[in-house]
Amino acid sequence: MLDRSLAEEVLRAARRRGGAFAELFVEERSSVSIRLDDGKVEELTTGLDRGAGVRVGHGTSFGYAFSNRLNREALLEAAEAAAASLTQGEAGNVVDLRALEPPVLHAAERDPSAVPAVGKIAWVREVDETARGYSAEVRQVVAGYADSVQRVVIATSDGRWVEEIRPRLRLAAQVVAAREGNIQTGVHVAAGLAGVEVLDAQSPSATAEIAARRAVTMLGSIPAPAGEMAVVLAPGMGGVLFHEAVGHPLESDAVDKEASVYRGRVGETLASTLVNGVDDATIANAWGSFSFDDEGAPAQRTVLFEEGVLRGWLYDRLRAEKDGVPSTGNGRRQSYASPPIPRMTNTYILSGGSKPDDIIASTARGVYVTALAGGQTNPATGDFVFGCSEAFLIEDGRVTTPVRGANLIGRAIEVMSAIDAVADDFDTWPGHCGKDGQSVPVGSGSPTIRISRITVGGTGA
């Protein structure tokens, strides 16, 4: 995509007024997406996207410019524009670029580009047929398939040269079921930083069946109770909660701006001692993984909580340099069109010693959440809210009637401290995380966990 001598020339142009460092990010992404809706293959779209972004960093400030064009003229123009944010200074140097060895590789075993379009269409059809075959109450199915290959080159003025190829594949099923005017939806997804083997591990039918089961199950639901009660989160779902309520306030930009509820509290016990939490981009072929982050820092595993004790933040380059520590490899961006910011990768609550059945059996009254629809958090206050897309009552130690409209609301530190059981049945959930208008693929993971008391917002009694 780019030769090293041109990269060096661009970096020199970007450092004409100094700054702490300059960085060039070049990307080319080819993609295929298929959408089946209403029983029809509506659209097969192919695309080629490419561009380059130049950043000049100084303190926690930066100048950034990008272009769709990858020729010398356009790249030098972007470098000039990025450097313009520094109004004065002496030209900085550019160290000879040396290629870095990746700490971990995430190659596609079965290359999606070797599968003809007919084969990919068969997968979305399989989702449609399986979901409709699941129940006569299934009214509508949307199946979305996408694969992409993102080729990245990153060069920095301190001599970093990184090349990475990131293959991604995702298949999602959304099922609508109806019964006597009651309409419910169920969603499920298979995804990985990998190739067609993602669908060997979880077939299109399996994805469709789970989505259909969720929609049909919720047809029999009653309005969720409201008030404070125990909530048990099924495998994977605790990870989603951990990501939103804890992960975002641990991102170093929030901490740096003193807009994090965890600021200045490393070393304190701020969660139940049962909680061990990590962010880990090195997990082979996981949806939120990579070999290098989008600033060229190697992927790593970062401990966030150890037996309830807060251990540290998720760093990108700007904030790490300010604090005088190494980056944790969490500088990510949606594409060349955006500057990198601190983001999560795969964020997990690790397994504990309890058995999931025992956790349910020892819960007299509460809600069992098997699918979360997503959530929102305010890092400064720690306030968060989550919608539950599939949930059940727990009555006398048994999972009983499905409930709808359940919402979990609380504050990060209080809720994490109220976790009183962590099981050993770890699972993950692939999703997308949005922040500052940028969406990146992230993984969440956890075993079954119980929160002894949390506010459930619902319309029932």
């Binding site: 779209t45 996207d49 064009r69």
Partner: protein, 446 residues
């Protein structure tokens, strides 16, 4: 570098006999400045260009392909790719392109002064906004985010059915998130405004509003569960409008995903509730002469004094439903084919000002912010349960701040319970809403 008109014409000329081909090209330059602690935190310049090709084979199969910053040859290649992709789609007789129609240009969409504004001025504006935010109140010494941004964009569309349309626009916006602190407690206050030129942006008001919305939440408590009048301020109301927009698209209706599917002609909201989509309304930031497939923009009254009139259509849904397009084709840029979406989608304002509404809602709660709407509201069933923050209403004034509440209901119940609509219509990007009083609603706390 070919201009946008040349690009889309080259694509259309590459059509083969019997095919319908449409090309959509856009380019934009975007500048974004964020300020923090009296310094420029980030300065981003972006220039982007791209084109997408929609191709329909004679039997109604559709294919799509796009390319970033294409040459004339690359845009022709996108046409052949779209053709290859179409072969795999399901035939659908409703895949038709709109016929050419003259769209009245809207000159006011392009503000030459904004397009010519030097970067220094934008940087100064972001710094001023931050400085103003941290100097209004001793409890606000910091901001989470302060940002000024603008964009100059052009769009061109051409098709084998004779569409040949272009327009240019400017947009600018700014936002502030103030951090209000009192001892150990922190609250955030958000404000945002958008306009086509600096003279209409009113950025000073953004600082003042962010500070007020943050400081008034200090000392917030979790209230007991209660059934009371609820006044949704425009920020809170705008979140719900997004859910309504999805349910009022003909696409959702035709695919069995709308709670309004069978309700045309029926009373779905209270008498005071009128909902409009108007792509030509200059007061709205989403005004444009034509939609994303070249159909002239228009005004559609979706709900009139509570009665549902119909849905938003693009050319596909109009053909399928035997209706006329409402000029509601929308796409997420050149990378995708158009779906159905809103332009300026707003609740018709009433005559009461905020003080009158507060008096009417005495004993109730003003909701200033709702969270989790994208996950907590089901646009298909209309059920929602969302987190909320706000303040008690005492007489015609605001009282104790409240946090960690949830409000849960259904969209139809909420629309029926609207008892008054304020005169303070305010647009947030494409949705506009005044303060809305809901006669009674359950606010869940302890």
């Amino acid at each position: 570098m070919p201009d946008l008109g040349e690009l889309v014409r080259a694509a259309v000329e590459a059509a083969e006999a019997g095919e319908a081909v449409e090309a959509y090209a856009e380019e934009s330059t975007h500048t974004e400045v964020s300020a923090h602690k009296a310094e420029v935190e980030g300065l981003t310049f972006a220039e982007s260009r791209g084109a997408g090709v929609r191709l329909v084979l004679p039997d109604g199969r559709l294919g799509y392909a796009f390319a970033a910053d294409p040459s004339l040859d690359e845009v022709r290649r996108a046409v052949s790719q779209a053709r290859e992709n179409a072969v795999f789609a399901t035939p659908d007789e409703h895949n038709v392109l709109p016929e050419a129609a003259d769209a009245e240009p809207i000159e006011a969409l392009f503000n030459p002064a904004l397009a010519a504004m030097p970067t220094d001025r934008k940087v100064a504006l972001a710094l001023d906004l931050e400085a103003r935010t941290v100097s209004r109140d001793p409890r606000v010494a910091k901001v989470d985010t302060v940002q000024y941004a603008d964009a100059v964009s052009r769009v061109a569309i051409a098709s084998t059915t004779g569409v040949a349309a272009e327009y240019a626009r400017t947009d600018c916006w700014c936002l502030a998130v103030a951090l209000a602190e009192d001892g150990e407690e922190t609250q955030t206050g958000f404000s945002f405004r958008v306009a086509r030129g600096l003279e209409d942006l009113g950025w000073e008001g953004v600082a003042d509003e962010a500070v007020e919305r943050g400081t008034r939440m200090l000392g917030a408590v979790k209230p007991p569960t209660m059934k009371v009048p609820v006044l949704l301020d425009p920020f809170a109301g705008s979140s719900f409008l997004g859910v309504l927009a999805g349910a009022l698209s003909a696409e959702a209706v035709q695919k069995g995903r709308s709670l309004f599917a069978e309700l045309v002609g029926q009373q779905v909201g209270s008498e005071v509730f009128t909902l409009v989509d108007d792509g030509r309304l200059l007061d709205g930031p989403a005004a444009s002469p034509f939609d994303d497939e070249g159909v002239p923009s228009s005004r559609t009254e979706l709900i009139t004094r509570g009665t549902l009139n119909g849905f938003l259509h693009n050319t596909y849904t109009a053909h399928r439903g035997g209706a006329a397009s409402t000029g509601s084709a929308r796409r997420a840029g050149y990378r995708s084919a158009p779906g159905v979406g809103v332009s300026n989608f707003y609740v018709e304002p009433g005559i009461m000002d905020l003080r009158e509404l507060l008096a009417e809602a005495n004993g109730g709660v003003l909701i200033q912010d709702v969270s989790g709407v994208h996950s907590g509201a089901n646009p298909i069933s209309g059920e929602f349960s969302v987190g909320a923050t706000g303040l008690r209403i005492e007489g015609d004034a605001l009282g104790e701040p409240l946090r960690e509440m949830t409000i849960a209901s259904t969209i139809p119940e909420m629309l029926r319970a609207v008892s008054a609509v304020g005169s303070d219509l305010r647009f947030f990007t494409s949705v506009g809403v005044p303060s809305i009083l809901i006669g009674e609603m359950t606010v869940a706390g302890i």
